[in-house]
Amino acid sequence: MSDPQNPVHLAPLHVAVALDGAGWHPAAWREPEARPTEFFDARYWTDLVREAERGLLDLVTIEDSFGLQSSNPGRPDDRTDQVRGRLDAVLVAARVAPLTEHVGIVPTAVVTHTEPFHASKAVATLDWVSTGRAGVRVRVSSRPDEAALFGRRTVEPFEPGSADDRPIVDLFDEAADYVEVVRRLWDSWEDDAEIRDAATGRFVDREKLHYIDFEGRHFSVRGPSITPRPPQGQPIVAALAHRTVAYRLVGRSADLGFVTPRDAADARAILAEVRAEQTAAGRADETVHVLGDVVVFLDDDAAAAADRKARLDALLGRELISDARIFVGTPAELADLVLEWREAGLGGVRLRPGGLPHDLEQITRGLVPELQRRGAFRTAYEADTLRGLLGLARPANRYAAV
C-alpha cells in the first residue's frame, strides 16, 4: 500500500472540470456571482475556460443535450425557475479554442440522432483550430421527447431500475459503432496524404486516402473523410458511465471514462468492471483513463461551503440530488478525497462546480495549489496537446502501410 502523504511516485494526476450553465446546482444561477444572462454570450465561456487554463487543468468538458433542460431525467418539464436554453457544445468549444493555448476542450456530442460523418469532421476541425487539444464526450439519448425533435425514429423510454436493458443496450451498441466510424474517418487520411507534387501535378496521394467501408446495423459509411487527419491523429473520446452497459462503451471505445463512485471502495469496484470490459474488447494494453466525477461546493472555510450549499438547497426547495458524489468543504479536504481516489486506482477526477464561477475559482486557486504543495499536480503545462497532457502517445494510423 502506498503512502497517501507521499504520492509523488504515482502516475500524474488528471483534473478535469465539467462546465454547464451556472453550475451543477439547479439554483446556482441565483448566486450573487452567477451571470445568468450571459450563458449565450461567448465571453462567459471564454472566461470560464481561461480560468480552467490558469489552474493548469487537463481539460474542460462542455455539457450538451438536444432537449431543453429538465428537472426530470426522463422527460421535459415546464419549470420556469431554472436555467433553460443551451448552445451547441462543439461550437462553444470551437469559439473558445483560439483564445486558449493549453487546456483540453471536450464538448458533448449526442450520437443517437446525429451523423458520425458530421461529428468526425467537426471534432477533427476542433482539433485543427485548437492545435491538438480536442476531444469529444459521446452521449446517447434515450428520451422520447428528444427523438421527437428529429422525427426520424422512436426510442423506447428507458426506466432506471428496469429489468429490461434491451433498449439501452441497443443505443450503446449504436454509440460504439458511431465511435468506430468516427475513429476510422480520422484515420482515413494518412498524415502525409497531401503531397503537393508539382512534378506529377498531384495535390494528394490517393494511395494514402482510405475508404472506411463501415457496415453496421444502424448505418453504413463509405468514407474517406473530407477533413485531413487532425493534429492528434485521434482526438480524445470520452464517455460518462454509471452502469455496466456504459462501462462497456468506455472499455470498447473510449480513451477517457467519467464514472460516479460513492467512495474509494466503489471506485475500485467500478474500475475493475471497466478494466474487465477493456480486456474483453481486446484493449487491455491501451491506456484508458478513468476519472471520478464529484459535484463540489468549496470555500476556504468548510462552514461557509456548507452554508452556501444549504442556501441553494433552500432556494431549490429540497436537498440536491446527483448521480455523482456531492462534496461540500474546503479545497484541502477535497484534495484528500482526490488523492484517496487516486490511491484507489482512478486517474483523477472530473469536478462539477456546484456554482460558476465560484467553485471553478475555488478549484483553480484553492485545490490546485493544495495539490501542488503535496507534489501531486503539475506546476506548468508539460505538453501542447490534450493527448500529451493525458500521457497518451499520438497513435499510428490504422490504414498506414507498416
Partner: protein, 457 residues
Amino acid sequence: MAKKQIHLAAHFPGVNNTTVWSDPAAGSHIDFRSFVHFAQTAERAKFDFLFLAEGLRLREQNGQIYDLDVVGRPDTMTVLAALAAVTERLGLAGTINSTFNEPYEIARQFASLDHLSAGRAAWNVVTSWDEFTGENFRRGGFLPQEKRYLRAKEFLAATWALFDSWRGDEIVADKESGVFLADPDAGRFDVSSDQFDIRGRFSVPRSPQTRPVILQAGDSEEGREFAASSADAIFTRHGTLDAGREFYADVKGRLAKYGRSPDDLKILPAATFVLGDSDAEAQEKADVIRHQQVSGQTAIKFLEQLWNRDLSDHDPDGPLPEVDPLVGENTVARGRASVRMYRDPIATARQWRELAEAKHLSTRELIIEVTGRQSFVGTPEKVADALDEFVQADASDGFVLVPHLTPGGLDEFADTVVPLLQERGSFRTEYEGTTLRDHLGLGDARPPADAIPGVRS
C-alpha cells in the same frame, strides 16, 4: 445623390480546381492560421462576410479519388465558430446541405453560431440528392431527385419555425424572484410537412439576428424562385454586364409576389480578379494563373467530364478527340461538376470543336478558354472602375471574390482596390453596424413564415 454601395464577400479558397496550390506563396488550406489570415484581411477591408463552401464526399473520376486539385477541408460550422473568436464584425457564412442534415440540429448550430458571433451568421442553403454522397450518411441516397427542392423548402420552413419559437424576451433571470423564464412555453414548436414531422421545444433562445442571413446559390428557375421567396442574397456566375443586368432584373422582379422589395435580396456574382501594375502585366499574370490552374492532366480530366469516357491517353496539346461524348447514366466523374451539368453533351462537344478550330486551340487551351471566369483583370484602378460600373449599372449588388491563393489571395485587393472603391464613395470605410444584416442593409429578419402550411411555432 449617394452612390449605390457595393457589397463584398470573400470565398475562402477551399476544395476546387482554381486554387493554385503549386505557387510558392500557397499556404495550408487546413491550418487554422490560414483561415485567421484570410478572415482578418477581409475584416480589415470591411467586407460584409467570409464564405465557406461544403463538400461531403471526396470527388472521384474513373473510379478513383480525384488527386489533381486542392482536396480536404475543415467542418464548416466549427471553423466559422472559431473564426468568430478572431474577428469582430465580419459576417460568417457557411454552406450547409439540407439533404444530409436535420432541421433541429442545423437550426441549433446556426442559432448557436449567431449567439457566439454576436449576430454574424449566414447560411447558404444547398441541396443534394445523389447516392454517391449519401453513402456517407444514415439517410443514404434514398431521396428522389425531384424531392430535393421540396425538402429544401420544408427544411428552411422548419428551421424558421425553430428560430421563431423564442420571441426574445423570455429570459428574465431574476435572482430575487427566482424566475428564469417568463414563459413556460418558450421554444415550443410543431412542424408537420411532407418531409418533416417534428415537435418539442427548441433549446437555443432567440439569437441576435433572430435568423441567420439566408444565402442561395443557383441559376435555375427553381433556384431563382427559392431565392426570391426565401433568401437574403443570391450567388450567381454572371460575368458580363449584359448577362448580369438581365439576371438582376429578372430576380428582383420576382420579389414583389412574395411581398418583398428589391432591396431585400442582394445579388452577388462570384468574381475572380488578377491585379498588376499595368493592364498588360495583369493580363500576363492572368494567363500564367490559368495555365497553373489547368495543367495538361487537369485539362484531360475536364474533358472526360463532358466526354464521359476515359481519355487518359489523349494528348492535351493536340486537338479535341474525334469520338463523340458518351451519353448515359453512368458518369466517370462523381461528386463534382460532371457530365450532368451539360444538358446536351453532343451539342456542347460540337460547339467546343468549332471554337477550337476557329481559334486554333489545343485541348488544354480550349479547356482554359471554356472554363475561364477571370472576371476582372487589370490595374487596381481598372478593376475598381469595372466593379463599380457593374454595381452602378444594376448588374449586381456586389461580388463574392474568389482568390486563387490561400491564404494571402485577398491581401493585394484589400490594399489596393478597396481604398479606390472607398475614394469613389462606393464602399464603406467603416462598418456602420455590428450584425451581418446591418452590413447587408437588410433590416430585421422577415416576419414568421406563417403562410407555410403545417408549420407552427
